[in-house]
């Protein structure tokens, strides 16, 4: 039995390749994401151990508000100069250097715009001279207030040479500096992992990067001869006390890398999620392939039964075939995954501006997951076909191999039950809306629903395919193609269902996001009274900001009724991390933006007063008159008395703090400015003057309200694009499924094709026939996907009604695009099978057994 299985496997290599490809792609994406994150993680390890290679012991202040890398920028804690003096007196300390390094030094490039960053920090540091790591490549270090040195990455990006003037944005508005030096790093590197660095003199760095003189963000200590880093750490730690963390260089680099690890792990699980979708689709493909193969081998399998093989042996035979294919595919997928992971890592490195990659490694997690996933998925997919093989009666060996149209009653009932189960699960998940189990419940519900719908698909495939096919019925090849697409409902259904999964997910997510977008935009349209808004493209790491004085000057412009701004910080409010805003003047902001009070009043806040949205107040259990304690990025804990609340969404903030609070913000400058014009003043009259005021704030622009609303929701478009990109793999596998089904069906119909060619069907007509079949199947799949996706999206939007998503938007344009793309995909999928079919030897085909 073993021998005959392996022989039949080898005899049909094409089948092996086709069914293997789905597994290969799935395994490739799984192991690829492991290799990618592993490579990046080791690269970051190397990077940080480089950064701290010259440090024996470092002293860090705990940040006031801890922020994970994925959530935004953490404002480092600060160390007063007195502590540095204390460290210098500790026995065993050779030198102790106070360092300043904080994100947010944005260099203005030659084009007048701030140099781009892809999430990598733009550090402002104090110049401490050259060492083993940092090397000047031109000029010298800064020694006057108006001088800076920049790293080679900045110099190249901004086309700066020694002697050039350049504007830099920091915690303060734009200031002009003279570049007196350019530095690089050991090993001829322009940057460390793409990080931009601007080195000021110490007092300037303190003022511009930490907001206050006499502070450092870090102390780096070199040990005197005979003192080990560990000993030094302990003695420094006891000297500075428990407010600081004192670590050896190795610990520092580990800790820094550890921060990124969390981010990478998150990134990895997203990638794995999409890989899982791809594998899920792959299961459909494998299931279909094995079903077709079992159908085609009916006579052979029946013969084995007739010769005395028992059912278990037949099941074993099919599963063994799956095991072999799964194993080979897993190995190939692993190898490809290593390649893809490495390629993505170098793409990442190039994109981020030069992270030096550690060698590509194959982590055990990649190998184990590849093998387990590859073999298991294939075996699971083969179970049903194996059972079917075992039910072939021995007598089938003597009969003509007709593929009997098995009734669809059973599968339809089962499909109905499974779909209902999925929908219930989905409903439970959506209704709960909060809690840890919500996401798994929703995802499980979606998954089960997909399986159920796939089981229902054979029933609807006949009528739908017949209707879809009418489009092509004008020619004989078209008609034949349509009939072929409809002749095996199960096969067509599974192939189409595989395509459905990817498209349904994309459509569902798009419906949800578009609805959210439109609801938000609609609300903003209704509530925002300001005709002019100052804002920049939202960047997650360092929100674009502008000079607060612009608002005062704008307020004095003729035709302007009032101007107000909001600055932003991540704070701990009553111990929980919340985004907060400070208004330049709440009374004016309320007038300009159109805030609606819910309780209390929205007047100009005293330094110890705050307001919050009514919803936030309810959620936190706070009411007017009570106090909240707020720890901002800098400074001590503040107590604010709540003097009012406002209707949700009538201000773009959950908390509004007094203007004075912004001094302790990570970035004190406003990120939004709202300008309300006097009645009857046209926007065009004021806009150019406001734009002129913003000349020194290149991160933002003034525009009318609609542009602001668009900017607010632009992040959503990127999410949609990302999801489309990631689901492209699942869709690609589904396309392979179409190719596979076609190729195997053509093989099955060899004799029929031979006849058609014998009675005069030309090659071109043959190819057209195959293409129509493929197009009908793909469009059917896309149609299913669009419909199911729209329903899923609608369900989610309905469930989120309470969260402020009130509008349901169906992205018709995109949905139609998916259908058209599916048609194109069908054409592409048909290319190979069509060519193969057209090249068929007529004589050979017609006598084909």
């Amino acid at each position: 039995m073993l021998r005959s299985t392996l022989k039949s496997l080898l005899a049909r290599k094409l089948r092996l390749v086709l069914s293997g490809i789905a597994v290969i792609l799935g395994v490739m994406s799984v192991s690829g994401s492991f290799v990618l994150t592993d490579t990046l993680s080791r690269s970051f390890d190397a990077l940080f151990s480089d950064v701290y290679s010259t440090t024996d012991v470092g002293v860090l202040a705990k940040p006031k508000v801890s922020v994970a890398t994925v959530d935004g920028v953490e404002v480092p804690g600060t160390i007063p100069a007195a502590t540095l003096d204390k460290v210098r007196t500790v026995p065993g300390v050779a030198t102790a250097t106070g360092r300043i390094a904080a994100d947010g030094a944005r260099v203005i490039g030659a084009d007048g715009k701030v140099l781009a960053s892809v999430g990598t920090p733009r550090l402002g540091i104090n110049w401490v001279g050259e060492d083993d790591l940092v090397k000047l490549t031109a000029g010298r270090g800064p020694n006057a207030d108006g001088e800076i040195a920049v790293n080679a990455a900045v110099a190249k990006a901004a086309k700066l040479n020694v002697g050039d003037q350049v504007g830099v944005l920091t915690l303060s508005p734009k200031q002009q500096f003279t570049v007196v030096g350019v530095f690089g790093y050991s090993g001829d590197r322009d940057s460390l992992g793409g990080v931009q660095e601007v080195a000021f003199t110490e007092p300037v760095a303190q003022k511009l990067m930490l907001g206050q003189s006499g502070l450092y963000s870090e102390i780096r200590v070199a040990a005197a001869d005979g003192t080990t880093p560990a000993q030094l750490r302990d003695s420094v730690a006891s000297a500075v006390g428990a407010d600081y963390s004192v670590l050896t260089g190795d610990q520092l680099s580990e800790e820094a890398a550890g921060d990124l690890q969390t981010g990478l792990a998150f990134f990895n699980s997203i990638l794995l999620g999409f890989a899982a979708v791809a594998l899920f689709v792959g299961v459909f493909l494998i299931l279909n392939t094995f079903s077709i193969i079992v159908a085609q081998r009916t006579r052979e399998l029946a013969l084995m039964r007739a010769l005395g093989a028992n059912r278990r042996q037949l099941i074993g035979s099919v599963l063994l075939e799956a095991l072999v294919i799964g194993f080979i595919a897993a190995v190939v997928g692993l190898i490809l995954g290593v390649g893809v992971g490495a390629a993505l890592a170098s793409a990442f490195s190039a994109f981020s501006g030069g992270l030096e990659l550690a060698g590509v490694g194959v982590p055990p997690s990649a190998v184990i997951s590849a093998l387990v996933v590859g073999v298991l998925v294939t075996m699971i997919a083969a179970v049903l076909p194996a059972l079917r093989a075992s039910r072939i009666p021995p007598v089938a060996a003597m009969q003509d191999v007709a593929n009997p149209d098995r009734p669809l009653t059973k599968i339809t009932i089962a499909g109905g039950v499974v779909t209902a189960l999925g929908v219930i699960l989905l409903g439970v998940g959506l209704a709960a809306a909060t809690g840890d189990s919500v996401l798994p419940t929703i995802m499980g519900g979606v998954l089960v629903t997909f399986i159920g719908i796939a089981m229902l698909t054979p029933l609807i495939s006949k009528p739908v395919v017949s209707v879809l096919g009418r489009i092509f019925a004008w020619s004989l090849p078209g008609r034949l193609g349509r009939l072929n697409a409809g002749r095996n409902p199960r096969r067509t259904a599974i192939t189409a269902a595989a395509l459905m999964v990817g498209i349904a997910l994309v459509t569902g997510i798009t419906v949800t996001i578009e609805s959210t977008k439109s609801s938000l935009a609609g609300k903003a349209e209704d509530t925002v009274r300001a005709q002019l808004v100052i804002s920049g493209d939202q960047n997650p790491s360092w929100p674009p900001s502008f000079d607060a004085s612009v608002l005062d000057r704008a307020a004095t412009l003729p035709g302007v009724r009032g101007a107000a701004g909001l600055s932003y910080d991540l704070a701990q409010v009553n111990g929980e991390r919340r985004p907060v805003n400070a208004a330049t003047d709440l009374a004016r902001l309320a007038d300009v933006y159109g805030a609606v009070p819910a309780a209390g009043t929205l007047t100009t806040l005293r330094p110890d007063q705050a307001v919050m949205s009514a919803q936030e107040a309810a959620e936190r259990g706070v009411s007017v008159g009570q106090t909240v304690s707020v720890q901002l990025s800098r400074g001590p804990v503040h107590q604010y008395t709540l003097v009012g609340t406002y209707e949700e969404d009538t201000l773009p903030a959950a908390y509004v703090l007094p203007a004075a609070a912004s001094a302790d913000f990570g970035n004190p400058q406003p990120i939004y400015g709202f300008i309300r014009l006097s009645d009857g003043v046209p926007v065009a009259q004021v806009l150019p003057q406001v734009q002129a005021l913003l000349a020194d704030s290149p991160e933002v622009s003034a525009a009318d309200r609609s542009v602001f609303i668009e900017q607010q929701t632009s992040g959503f478009d990127q999410i949609i694009m990302m999801i489309q990109l990631l689901l492209a793999l699942a869709i690609l596998i589904a396309v392979l499924g179409v190719v596979n089904t076609l190729a195997l069906s053509m093989l099955e119909r060899t004799r029929e094709l031979g006849l058609l060619r014998a009675v005069g069907l030309s090659r071109a007509q043959t190819m057209r026939m195959v293409t129509v079949e493929a197009v009908v199947i793909s469009v059917f799949g896309a149609l299913l996907g669009v419909v199911v996706g729209a329903l899923l999206g609608t369900a989610v939007v309905q469930a989120l009604d309470g969260e402020g998503i009130t509008e349901l938007v169906l992205p018709w344009g995109q949905m139609i695009t998916y259908l058209l793309v599916a048609g194109l995909v069908g054409v592409v999928a048909a290319i190979l099978p069509a060519i193969r079919t057209a090249r068929l030897n007529v004589l050979g085909a017609i006598t084909h057994d």
Binding site: A402, L483, E752, L755, A758, V759, R763, L843
Partner: protein
């Protein structure tokens, strides 16, 4: 064989000294060794011969399904040798009809659609009068909307015949048309073929190994070992059997090498 001039319109198909060699070197098998034959318009010819005599190969070469290694093949006044797929496909569509042992109907199409298939491929409409004639001759009027799976073997083969006739081809090639039928259905079919020759002037070339089937033909050509060895006009089943017996004796002695030449493609 009567001597006819090359371009005589009375000839529907003509083989001129055709050779067919499969493989090369040690594996070389010669299926046809210089066969010259003419098939007159309006004549029902049977090609007979023992297994491996090359009769199927001859038919495949005549029908443009296979290409002769050497020699010329004409269908009407069209020369086949050296033509590309496009021309051969057109020729098969417009000038040649086929009837196969396995019926070879499209399962997705109804009987009527199967019959109309070559016309649909060409994008033309059947001549209504001829359509009625063909349908009535094969006696399938009440079965036209049925799928092949709903028809008996004999009915399926009659659909295949109607399909071959509907284009009024220069010549119909029938490859063991009764091979998969019981004797009564077989006899009906052969009578029907005879009828279409006698009444409608159709040319039919039929390969068979059945002496009774061959007796329905106007003429029998006997092949042995890749060569034409004998001919009978207006044959009876007994005369055919006698000739076959003589051939068996003749062939059994010298050569037995060409055993598998009739179906070279079956090895695929």
């Amino acid at each position: 064989m009567t001597v006819i001039e090359k371009n005589d319109v009375a000839v529907a198909a003509r083989a001129g000294d055709i050779w067919k060699v499969y493989g090369s070197g040690a594996a070389e098998v010669t299926a046809l060794r210089g066969v010259t034959a003419e098939f007159r318009r309006g004549q029902f010819t049977a090609i007979m011969g023992p297994s491996g005599s090359g009769k199927s190969t001859l038919m495949h070469c005549l029908a443009g399904l296979d290409v002769a290694t050497k020699g010329t093949v004409h269908i009407g006044d069209t020369e086949l040798s050296g033509q590309g797929d496009k021309v051969l496909t057109r020729l098969r569509r417009d000038k040649i009809g086929f009837i196969f042992q396995q019926f070879n109907l499209l399962p997705t199409l109804s009987a009527a659609e199967n019959i109309r298939l070559p016309l649909d491929i060409a994008g033309t409409k059947p001549d209504p009068q001829w359509w009625d004639t063909v349908i009535d001759t094969v006696g399938l009027r009440d079965r036209l909307s049925h799928r092949p799976s709903q028809l008996s073997g004999g009915q399926q083969q009659r659909v295949a015949c109607a399909r071959a006739l509907i284009t009024r081809p220069e010549v119909i090639f029938a490859d063991e048309p009764t091979g998969n039928l019981d004797s009564r259905s077989g006899a009906e079919l052969l009578k029907f073929l005879q009828l279409s020759v006698r009444e409608h002037g159709q040319t039919i070339v039929m390969v068979t190994h059945d002496a009774v089937a061959a007796s329905y033909a106007d003429r029998v050509v006997f092949l042995a070992d890749g060569q034409i060895v004998s001919e009978l006009d207006n044959p009876t089943a007994e005369a055919v059997l006698d000739t076959m017996k003589r051939l068996d004796v003749l062939v059994a002695a010298p050569r037995q090498s060409d055993e598998n030449v009739t179906a070279p493609a079956a090895a695929r």
